[in-house]
């Protein structure tokens, strides 16, 4: 199912015998509308369209495909153009890297992001994912600010029958450092730090994250991003990446109908991979990232 913008782009090329600069420009205008409506960032869209135009004019995409009986068919300009868009989008979102580095004896994952994006819930989901891989996770309740945040993580940990480390006497950096010692004691081999949501422009709280990172040297820092986020995605991702050198993104709430264009923007701006997708509120609703599904959703 193509979005209106994309369908119009395709229609504008039907009946054309070849791709020319003029008809490509018309089609690109429609694709632009579709991408902006999908929340892809304004400048990311401009760069994407430039690359598509260069490719379309340069005819880098194969202009033939094989049909079911193995016959070679020449692609019509409309299909050719749509093919370039999908190819370019998938290339932008790749290469796929859903690996989680884990040192021995204790591997570490630090969850960061804006308020309400799904960090605490995703911490639980990651733990369930790691349990399936025969690992023994421990959760760390490093959000000491939000009312009942520690309890929220404890409830999730209990449901998975895994330990949750919390200490009201410690500030988050010291708490996370202590947690690593506790992990050895409790014989856990992965520790996941759930941190409080914060603004990328909150210098004090961003410094707190830098402190946690300095003291615990986590194997992975994952930025948890809400799939509904708009143009601000780029500002936030760039700043979190600048200060923490993140290892990847987890995109949440993809079980809704948000197009998720932010995925394209944050990947392009930081070159960091999208690791996982949150597809619901239950702890089982976590999938490893694959570009195809997201590409067709963004293009509409």
């Amino acid at each position: 199912t193509l979005s209106k913008g994309f369908r119009t782009a395709r229609q504008s090329l039907s009946g054309q015998t070849e791709l020319t600069e003029h008809n490509i420009d018309i089609a690109l205008r429609e694709v632009r509308v579709s991408l902006l409506e999908a929340d892809v960032e304004y400048n990311v869209v401009a760069r994407f369209l430039d690359r598509v135009k260069t490719k379309a004019l340069g005819r880098e995409v194969a202009t033939h495909v094989k049909d079911k009986s193995g016959q070679r068919l020449r692609l019509k300009p409309a299909e050719h153009f749509v093919g370039i868009c999908y190819e370019e989008l998938e290339a932008l979102m790749g290469p796929v890297d859903t690996s989680i580095k884990l040192s021995k004896p204790v591997g570490t994952i630090m969850m960061v992001g804006l308020q309400g994006t799904g960090k605490t819930t995703t911490t639980g989901k990651l733990a369930q994912f790691l349990i399936k891989k025969q690992l023994k996770p421990m959760l760390v309740a490093a959000d000491i600010y939000r009312p009942a945040a520690v309890l929220q993580l404890k409830v999730l940990g209990d449901s998975l029958q895994i330990p949750v480390f919390a200490d009201p006497a410690l500030l988050p950096p010291q708490l996370c450092a202590q947690a690593l010692i506790k992990a050895k004691e409790w014989q856990c081999n992965v520790v996941i730090f759930d941190t409080a949501g914060r603004l990328s422009i909150d210098d004090e709280l961003m410094h707190e994250l830098e402190e946690i990172k300095r003291l615990t040297k986590p194997d992975n820092v994952f930025l948890v991003v809400d799939a509904m986020v708009g143009q601000d995605a780029v500002r936030t991702a760039a700043e979190f990446n600048r200060r923490l050198d993140i290892d990847g993104f987890i995109l949440t709430k993809l079980d809704g109908d948000a197009r998720g264009g932010a995925a394209l923007s944050i990947k392009e701006i930081t070159s960091k991979p999208i690791k996982f997708l949150g597809m619901g509120e239950k702890l089982g609703n976590l999938e490893e990232f694959r570009p195809q599904g997201l590409a067709s959703r963004i293009l509409g």
Binding site: E37, E41, P147, A148, V229, G230, Q231, G256
Partner: protein, 280 residues
């Protein structure tokens, strides 16, 4: 953009980038830029200053097409029941806590209803806010029917002669029809608990959201007719431009804006201030 001077074209491109970067969306941005382009063609707008002023006043006109006022009591000596709805993580529970604190400071009696019986520690989170704001709280057992918890909440409100009953609900995506039905049922049950309730249904929207916000507003309106919006997280870098399209199409007022995580971080919506921040 033909038939215009280069400086005017440059200004239009610059304005387009401002509008899109603020999440105003294609349809509304196009409408605004078309109006301005018309002013340029007719010769009314000559330089970039005039062009920018014209755009701002068009935006102000859209924003002021409805009256944005905070919650008020419906009548003296009556209980005003307010329901809070919205997708996951936007700030419903925190907003209720802030409003409760402000009403308490105004000497009003408030009862809170923990209508989120699904998410981990949801009622405990609201309980902290009830403590902070001196409000009473009604909760249910885990996975209790939200409608019955909210029914009990209104009863408590009547018994305590509360000025306001603020009903929290679980976050839910508007695409989940069973969850939207659950909301419709809660809305109906509130009406059974007290004739005319809920007097207000506030949709909580996150200022960081993109174009999906309009879909949310439309879908939630169908389950629970909306009387207002709360736009949260405006203390961040996002501009919240999504509200322009929502106000233009659905004519729903903005009751409050959220500018932080503490009890005091709640203000009335001021169109001029909002536009200043957008163009900053």
């Amino acid at each position: 953009l033909s038939g215009q001077k280069p400086i005017q074209n440059e200004t239009l491109v610059e304005l387009e980038s401002i509008l899109f970067s603020a999440d105003i969306g294609v349809k509304t941005s196009q409408k605004l830029l078309d109006m301005v382009a018309e002013g340029i063609r007719s010769g009314k707008l000559q330089n970039s200053e005039q062009i920018k002023d014209a755009l701002r006043s068009q935006m102000q006109e859209i924003l002021c097409s409805v009256l944005h006022k905070p919650l008020e009591t419906t009548e003296p000596n009556s209980t005003t029941v307010v329901m809070f709805v919205g997708v996951n993580g936007v700030g419903k529970t925190t907003t209720i806590g802030k409003i409760s604190s402000q009403l308490h400071a105004q000497g009003k009696r408030v009862v809170l209803g923990a209508g989120d019986t699904f998410r981990a520690a949801a009622s405990e989170q609201l309980a902290v806010w009830a403590d902070r704001s001196g409000a009473s709280l009604v909760t249910g057992s885990e996975n209790a029917d939200p409608a019955s918890v909210l029914f009990d909440t209104v009863q408590k409100g009547k018994a305590e002669k509360a000025d306001f009953v603020l009903c929290d609900t679980a976050g839910r995506l508007h695409t989940k029809s069973n969850l939207m039905d659950e909301l419709k049922k809660a809305h109906r049950v509130l009406g059974k608990a007290q004739a005319g309730a809920p007097h207000e249904v506030l949709l909580v929207l996150d200022a960081t959201m993109g174009q999906n916000a309009l879909m949310q507003a439309k879908q939630f309106s169908e389950s629970t007719p909306l009387t207002g919006i709360v736009l949260t997280k405006l203390d961040g870098t996002a501009k919240g431009g999504i509200v322009l399209g929502i106000i233009d199409e659905l004519k729903i007022p903005i009751r409050y804006i959220g500018v932080g995580e503490a009890a005091d971080d709640l203000r009335a919506f001021e169109p001029k201030e909002f536009l200043n921040a957008l163009f900053a």
